[in-house]
């Protein structure tokens, strides 16, 4: 179980290795990619910033909740910080379990909770030259 930040490209295949076990029959993963649009605006690039000390605590708390709620074996999450381009992977979640139902539900739980609870902020830069911190401005 680990929640981490990365300043470089996330390697989901590598991270998956630590979740594998002969006990596991199902693996669910989620990747969030930087889209070229958001709420009607054309996005050119973006920046993520995190309050890492608290974010890691809160992220680990979410992973532990997933392990307690669902019958899973392992779960991890990595989030990018810094400047990202369209198509870059912003966040990765991986969950292994004996059966697929728990793997899917836990993976979904983790990304949903990370998005609403973990202190990470996103600044979008738009093609029209404007920019803004998502959920904080306008």
């Amino acid at each position: 179980m680990s929640f981490e930040f990365s300043t470089s490209t996330i390697d989901g295949e590598q991270l998956k290795q630590s979740l594998m076990s002969p006990y596991c029959g199902g693996y669910s993963s989620f990747e969030g990619w930087v889209r070229d649009h958001n709420e009607g605006h054309s996005v050119s690039k973006l920046e993520y910033e995190a309050y890492e000390a608290l974010a890691v605590k809160e992220g680990e708390c979410i992973l532990q909740e997933a392990i307690d709620k669902f019958d899973i074996k392992e779960a991890s999450c990595v989030h990018r910080v810094g400047a990202l381009d369209i198509g870059d992977m912003a966040v990765w979640v991986g969950v292994s379990a004996a059966h697929r139902d728990a793997a899917f539900k836990a993976c979904r739980y983790i990304i949903d909770q990370v998005k609403v609870r973990v202190p990470i902020w996103k600044k979008e830069h738009y093609l029209d030259g404007d920019s803004g911190w998502v959920n904080c401005e306008h």
Binding site: G32, L54, A90, R117, I120, W121, W133
Partner: protein, 80 residues
């Protein structure tokens, strides 16, 4: 007077023009501290939109402020 460390992230960092500062204040609780800093730095958000962390833990806005506390104001998050 208490000595309080504040770290600024995201929109706060930009609006304060600072990543962190250490200030002297008479503010009794965290909410009073935010009002003081909102006025000083011209922050656009109200505390009702925010969460706050004291010494790396989420805390209530009514939490007493102690000498030496480290404070982070948490704007609406947007991870993922």
């Amino acid at each position: 007077m208490k000595s309080i460390k504040i770290e600024y992230y995201a929109l706060f960092r930009e609006q304060a023009g600072l990543s962190n500062e250490e200030i002297q204040t008479d503010a009794q609780n965290v909410d009073a501290l935010y009002k003081e800093l909102k006025s000083r730095h011209g922050f656009s958000m109200c505390s009702t939109q925010l969460r706050v962390a004291v010494n790396e833990e989420f805390k209530d806005w009514s939490s007493d402020l102690e000498d030496g506390d480290s404070i982070v104001f948490i704007p609406p998050v947007a991870g993922g």
